[in-house]
Amino acid sequence: MFQQDARPPRNDGKNLRFLALTLLAVLALAAGPASAARAQAGSSVVASAVIVPAQAADLGFINGAIIREINVNEGDFVKAGDTLASLDTPDLEYAMTAAEAGYRSAQSYAQLQRYRTVKKYDRRGRPYFETEPREVVQRGDAFAARAQASLDAARAVLAMSTLTAPFDGTVAALHARAGELAQPDRPILVLATLDRMQAETTDLSERDIAKIKIGQKAVVFIEALGEEFSARVISIAPRADTLGGDVVFKVTLAFDDQPDGLLWGMTAQATFATH
């Protein structure tokens, strides 16, 4: 901001102003972090920011197995529910087949109990048929219900071998390939809403945070695009981070109109209008 004043002096008055301002700038810079020097510009607060997607998820499998197939490439747009990748888990598939067979068997068994009778003989030696006690039918039904539950469990376990998209988004990064081992603590891809970007401040000092309010208007200058966009504050971190030795708060800004050409990680400068 001092560059505007740093033009070659034309007269004594300008010369003096220039010198005084330079001195002030040098002192302020020496005294505090860069943001502090920028923040003194009248009634506005200025902070560096970075462009991030509104939502980003590190997706991975929750069981460890070899990856059979990855169905997407970096940059692909996927819809919620789309299959992203699958694991090679024949044991779980066989278990599923076994559970299905077990369920069918238990169902027929339960049906059979309804018609089962016991052949008995009366005193004269004549045969008659007596139905089984009612508990036999109840037990058959309970077995069928248990087989159903086991089938649901087997299906749930097998479902863990398939990774589906939890929301509409773009595959921003792919960390694994088919044939590699998937592990619960190692996400295999990053799914992000690259069509909905936000700006997050990185160096907004604790000194200025009291001047920032939710809903406040701001101007975000994107260096890569050389353009300014209007935005507003949607979130203020309730807890500070430290940047070097400085205490800073993360403030998140949503654009009024989503600019084209934004990429994740671009640097920006946010100027908050304060009154």
Partner: protein
């Protein structure tokens, strides 16, 4: 001309170095240098501190699972018992139903034997089977309960959320951080072992919060029993309560404290 310049420069320097000026005063940074302690006098100890909430909790799941929904966002106020994050519980629910049907079978068997009458040993055996089924059912239900959702342990504000639907919850990795932001305290970061013996609970403290440009009254609430290391220094955390909760405080703001030690 040169004279004027000189005067302007001197004035500018004077304005910047001493009295309040248009340029912001730099925040005092945490100094590891024991020289900073030299400000401490016989009856006054100075230290740097940080504003912390009265209570905080870093919540995580006890086992691996797939996040089903994240019901809160940063800044939300939650009440004790409120659901914060849920996991996919399809498998655990099926396991509960399996255990329930096993219990049903054991129950039917016992009631049948009781109805038709049988030897005491057979009845005892059936009763034992039912008790075992009950224990397994309780266990499956408990697994479902602890693994299905993350609940707020106390009234608080959501400070950090590190989970998105579809992500994997890893045991021990904090998913939600809560802080009771209705009441703040100050915790010292650089009070040396040399001075800690002079700090007593209840001593009056002057708390300066540069971010607010204000000074508040406080009281020593507790002194750490175990030291921590700051750089090469041995320091003890002293927790200071505000006599009256100030407005506008935020977790992590820096503070300078002057403890009236005797």
């Amino acid at each position: 001309m040169k004279k004027i310049l000189l005067i302007v420069m001197t004035l500018t320097l004077a304005a910047c170095s001493g009295l309040p000026s248009s340029s912001p005063t730099p925040l005092p940074t945490v100094s590891l240098d024991p020289v900073s302690q030299s400000e401490s006098t016989a009856d006054r100890l100075t230290a740097s501190g940080v504003v912390v909430p009265y209570r905080e909790a870093r919540l995580s799941f006890p086992a691996v699972g797939r996040v089903q929904s994240v019901d809160v966002k940063v800044g939300d106020k939650v009440t004790a018992g409120q659901t914060l994050v849920t996991l996919d519980t399809t498998l655990l629910e099926a396991r509960v139903r399996e255990a329930q049907t096993n219990w049903d079978v054991a129950d039917i068997q016992l009631r049948f034997l009781q109805r038709v009458g049988t030897a005491e040993q057979n009845l005892e055996s059936a009763k034992a089977d039912l008790e075992r089924a009950q224990a397994l059912l309780d266990s499956a239900k408990a697994a479902l309960e602890t693994q299905s959702a993350l609940l707020a342990p106390f009234d608080a504000t959501v400070v950090a959320v590190d989970a998105v639907a579809g992500e994997t919850a890893i045991p021990g990795r904090a998913v939600v951080t809560l802080g009771d932001l209705s009441k703040f305290q100050v915790e010292t970061t650089d009070l040396s072992e040399r001075n800690v013996t002079r700090v007593k609970v209840g001593q009056a403290v002057e708390i300066a919060v540069p971010a607010l440009g204000q000074t508040f009254e406080g009281r020593v609430a507790s002194v750490a029993l175990v030291s921590s290391a700051l750089g090469g220094d041995v320091v003890f955390a002293v927790v200071i309560d505000f006599v009256k909760q100030p407005e506008g405080l935020r977790w992590g703001m820096s503070a300078d404290v002057k403890i009236q030690a005797k």
